[in-house]
């Protein structure tokens, strides 16, 4: 099928306002008499609250309201379990726990007021290591203890599998805590109208989930809460649940004035959700010829003080622990433990970056032990169309092998021994590969999207959706899908989004699902509207409806394009007949619950695949690693907009490079020691290697025009590809992220002896 708009690198439709500095992010919005809100957070990682005294702060001129736990109608929240408090009442469980919130006439006054609140604590023993937290002797953080979840995968019999294996290879791996670091901090403004309706302007990526959660917390009907999403300055999972919204809502309700809260960069580190750190152990049994026979994986994820997305991310980790490979005997156990650390939440890759860092470096270890080329080992065990995943799901449209072959060709893998020619006495070169399987959509749960379209009498179309563009370009992609389906120019499509009062429901731009799920909803709604147009066109042209096609805003008879009527005319006829063209449709990615004992079932509708190859140079005197080039081959299904796909992949590679070499939240006794971008290092332009992106389009039959998605997966293989390349260069195995120069240097010295 030839497409006119899908598959084209159309300029993103929101770009002009962005390059002119005219896009309005939350803090750019202005309200008269706005008050500034600030949170007082816990002083201890684990403590009982004896008393909170706000009297001094209340007396400060310009302070308009102070709220504590007693002011919160329902003082619990949580995406999966309601185990988190809005404002701590009797106990704090980490240093980010808010204890009180203040609204004042200026930011400075709000900060002053916070300083004047005195809280009496009784410090409790705390636990900061997830392995320690699971021991019976550990201090209990929640009434039910520190054990938050256990997820399992069981396939075949690993014991037998190990018995018949020729070799058994074991590895352990540790991953770090990371902060999303979207450059726009969490920001929100709440207003309350005379009827008590609360409007919140905050760029939440899950506005409908958040609205329901807020209704619960505030004890208001959902119709009394409206979330308007301004432009969003990056998400990466950091805005996947409520954060500052309850405080500004409560303070606005109390003061009857608009209330704004902007988190400082430090608060982003201390009080927002982060990436879970993992301890992972791998054991794989393999035949001499490279066939993977059995695998046992054990992992412990640090939930931090509350569960948030912890169990869901852990489930994904367990499902993906066998990698993109066919292994007949698999046993995975994932544990989630509460600690007095920052709360782990959703973050780009959602449990995958941790396991793939371990899994793909483990694969290299296996290959090296067998004396086999690492790519050959991967090709030998690669999942193919028709294969079953570790959960028993039969795969379709698998472009995995293609990604390996294309990446290897582009990186000149076969010549990679020649890299030594570029080496000096103090610099060594290496090349490393890593692969990926990654699902589209939510794990096990319903995650629907709906769309509402209207075709206007001039042939233009409004498309209402509930999935905000958080920077990835989804609005442009959805407009392309709508334009292609209707058969008109993209200039005739107007995407309307960002308001829970008017948008149809959407699960949001999370789980790499918008192109696939919202894209399907948009396509189906457009197809319904098009059907209405075709019906009047068929009548007007006196032909059978099946004979009609649309292109460039015109409905014409196939084979006789001179017999035609414009979409505008058809829409006008519909309108005059009393049936204005409008349609709704929804889509829910098909998935099913996993068996809790075996992990068998269909957790996702579809999967994407990727292979990345990193080439780098290690300075043996300083331990500094310079990544020179990354080749990234990604099977994304049909690429609706190749330029945007490329943008997502390169952006992800930056993210993965940060995880591999730079980023780590340093915590001591629950206190973050590097809560800023001077000490927590994000990749800069100077850290980025050259990147060659290869888009592999293995069409997904259930996706819009064959699309699967891109988004999260691109950062996942980057990290292990870099770690594997370091090994290739200097023969050291980094099994504790990130691979900082200090760590590399230390390992080099240890190796030398």
């Amino acid at each position: 099928m030839t497409h006119t708009i899908v598959g084209k690198s159309i300029t993103r439709i929101d770009v002009l306002d962005k390059i002119l500095g005219r896009s309005k992010y939350a803090d750019d919005l202005e309200f008269p008499d706005v008050l500034y809100a600030k949170l007082l957070r816990s002083k201890f990682p684990h403590a009982q609250i004896i008393n909170i005294d706000t009297s001094k702060a209340e007396k400060l001129s310009g302070v308009k309201a102070i709220i504590t736990a007693k002011d919160v109608p329902v003082n619990t929240f949580g995406i999966q379990f309601k185990d988190q408090v809005i404002l701590a009442s009797n106990k704090v469980r980490y240093l980010g726990d808010p204890v009180a919130a203040v609204a004042a006439e200026s930011k400075e006054l709000a900060e002053d007021a916070i300083e004047l609140i005195t809280v009496k604590y009784k410090e409790l023993p705390a636990v900061f290591d997830s392995r320690e937290a699971l021991k019976a002797s550990a201090p209990k953080i929640h009434d039910g203890g520190n054990f938050a979840a256990h997820r399992k995968i069981r396939l075949g019999t690993v014991k037998k599998g190990f018995q018949i294996s020729d070799e058994i290879i074991e590895d352990s791996f540790t991953t770090q805590k990371m902060e999303h670091s979207h450059i726009e901090p969490h920001t929100g403004i709440a207003t309350v109208d005379a009827n008590g309706k609360v409007t919140i302007r905050s760029s939440l990526s899950v506005p409908f989930v958040a609205r329901a959660e807020l209704a619960r917390v505030l004890k208001l009907p959902i119709t009394k809460i409206r979330i308007i999403q301004p432009e969003c300055g990056g998400n990466f999972g950091g805005r996947n649940e409520i954060s500052l919204e309850p405080y500004i809502a409560l303070l606005a309700m109390k003061t009857k004035q608009p209330v704004k809260m902007v988190w400082s960069r430090e608060e982003e580190f201390i009080g927002s959700t982060i990436r879970h750190s993992y301890f992972i152990e791998y054991k794989t049994g393999v035949k001499k010829d490279g066939r993977l026979i059995a695998r046992e994986v054990k992992m412990i994820s640090d939930a931090g003080a509350y569960s948030s997305y912890g169990e869901s991310a852990l489930t994904k980790s367990c499902i993906l622990a066998s990698g993109p490979y066919k292994i007949p005997n698999v046993k995975v156990d994932g544990y989630l433990a509460f600690t007095n650390q920052p709360v782990g939440g959703a973050m780009r890759g959602f449990g995958a970056p941790q396991v793939f860092a371990a899994e793909e470096t483990h694969m290299d270890h296996i290959a090296n032990n067998l004396g086999m080329d690492t790519i050959e080992l991967r090709l030998k065990n690669a999942l193919k169309t028709g294969d079953q995943t570790v959960t028993g799901q039969i795969l379709h449209g698998v472009g995995f092998t293609k990604t390996i072959l294309k990446a290897a060709e582009a990186a000149r893998w076969d010549k990679h021994q020649l890299l030594t020619e570029k080496e000096t006495n103090t610099t060594k070169r290496g090349m490393g590969v890593a692969c990926l399987i990654y699902p589209v959509g939510f794990t096990e749960k319903a995650n629907p999207s709906a769309a509402f379209v209207k075709v206007n009498s001039d042939g233009t179309m409004n498309v209402s959706i509930g999935a905000l563009d958080v920077g990835q370009g989804s609005t442009t992609v959805l407009a392309q899908i709508a334009a292609e389906e209707l058969g008109t120019s993209i200039n005739n499509i107007s995407i309307v989004t960002g308001d829970t009062d008017t948008d149809p429901y959407d699960t949001g731009p999370i789980a790499s699902r918008v192109t696939y799920a919202t894209g399907n909803a948009v396509r189906f709604a457009t197809a319904k509207a098009k059907q209405m147009l075709l019906e009047v066109a068929a009548e007007s042209l006196t032909v059978n409806i099946d004979a009609l096609e649309t292109k460039d805003g015109v409905i014409y008879v196939r084979g006789a394009p001179q017999k035609c009527i414009s979409i505008a005319e058809a829409a006008l006829i519909c309108q005059q007949k009393g049936k204005p063209v409008a349609a709704t449709a929804s889509f829910n990615p098909p998935n099913a619950l996993l068996d809790p004992e075996t992990g068998q079932g269909k957790p996702y509708p579809t999967y994407v695949f990727a292979t990345q190859i990193a080439e780098l140079e290690v300075d043996t005197q300083t331990g500094y690693v310079k990544v020179i080039k990354i080749v990234a081959a990604h099977d994304v299904g049909k690429a609706i907009n190749p330029a945007l796909v490329r943008g997502q992949i390169i952006g992800g590679i930056g993210f993965g490079l940060g995880q591999a070499m730079l980023e780590k939240m340093v915590l001591a006794q629950g206190k973050n020691l590097n809560p800023n971008f001077l000490d927590y290092l994000l990749p800069t332009s100077l850290d980025m290697p050259d990147v060659e992106v290869l888009i592999i389009e293995e069409p997904e039959p259930t996706g819009p025009f064959g699309a699967k998605g891109v988004a999260e997966p691109s950062n996942v293989p980057t990290t292990p590809a870099i770690i594997n390349a370091i090994y290739d260069a200097v023969g050291i195995k980094i099994n504790d992220l990130p691979a900082t120069p200090e760590k590399v240097l230390k390992a080099l010295r240890e190796k030398k002896g």
Partner: protein, 167 residues
């Protein structure tokens, strides 16, 4: 305890902002980014960290790129400031803006204004930069979305366009 809310003294400053003279009364502890955003209502300049680490607040001061969150407002008295609002307008985009648009150098857009101004400072000073010079020039502007490569491509392309236009 020393409270912050009680500094009330303001002083008048005058400077050229995007080609026009402006006068504004500022507290001595106010930073340029806050004056631009909250007093002069030019919200194109962003605040990402408020301590000179992220570059979202980059503006040009007398043609040089600076972090406006690290500049106290009285310091710009009698000087010249360029913000994103003065770089171009619809129908008359700066070549850098055109190139950013065409090279998909923008995702969430929050770092974009600062990034464009750092790029302008570079091209004004070094019309034909090498890739390394481009990377260095924007290394103080953090972007979490793009991985920088499309931004670097855009800046190199804008330099070429400038050369052709003789700008």
């Amino acid at each position: 305890m020393k409270l912050k809310g009680d500094i009330m003294i303001k002083q008048k400053i005058q400077f050229v902002l995007n080609g026009k003279s402006v006068e504004v009364a500022v507290k001595p502890n106010t930073t340029l980014v806050d004056v631009l955003r909250y007093q002069l209502k030019l919200t194109g300049t962003k605040r990402g960290c408020d301590r000179g680490n992220c570059g979202a607040c980059t503006v040009l001061l007398d043609g040089k790129s600076v972090y406006s969150c690290l500049i106290l407002a009285p310091k710009v008295n009698n000087r010249e400031v360029l913000t994103i609002e003065g770089l171009g307008e619809p129908g008359n985009l700066h070549p850098l803006q055109e190139a950013f648009m065409e090279h998909n150098a923008v995702q969430c857009g929050f770092c974009t204004p600062g990034m464009l101004l750092s790029a302008k400072a570079l091209l004004d000073d070094t019309p034909h930069p090498t890739k390394k010079e481009v990377k260095t020039a924007i290394s103080g502007n953090l972007c979490r979305c793009t991985g920088y490569i499309q931004i670097i491509e855009a800046i190199l392309d804008a330099a070429e366009r400038n050369a052709k236009k003789g700008r």
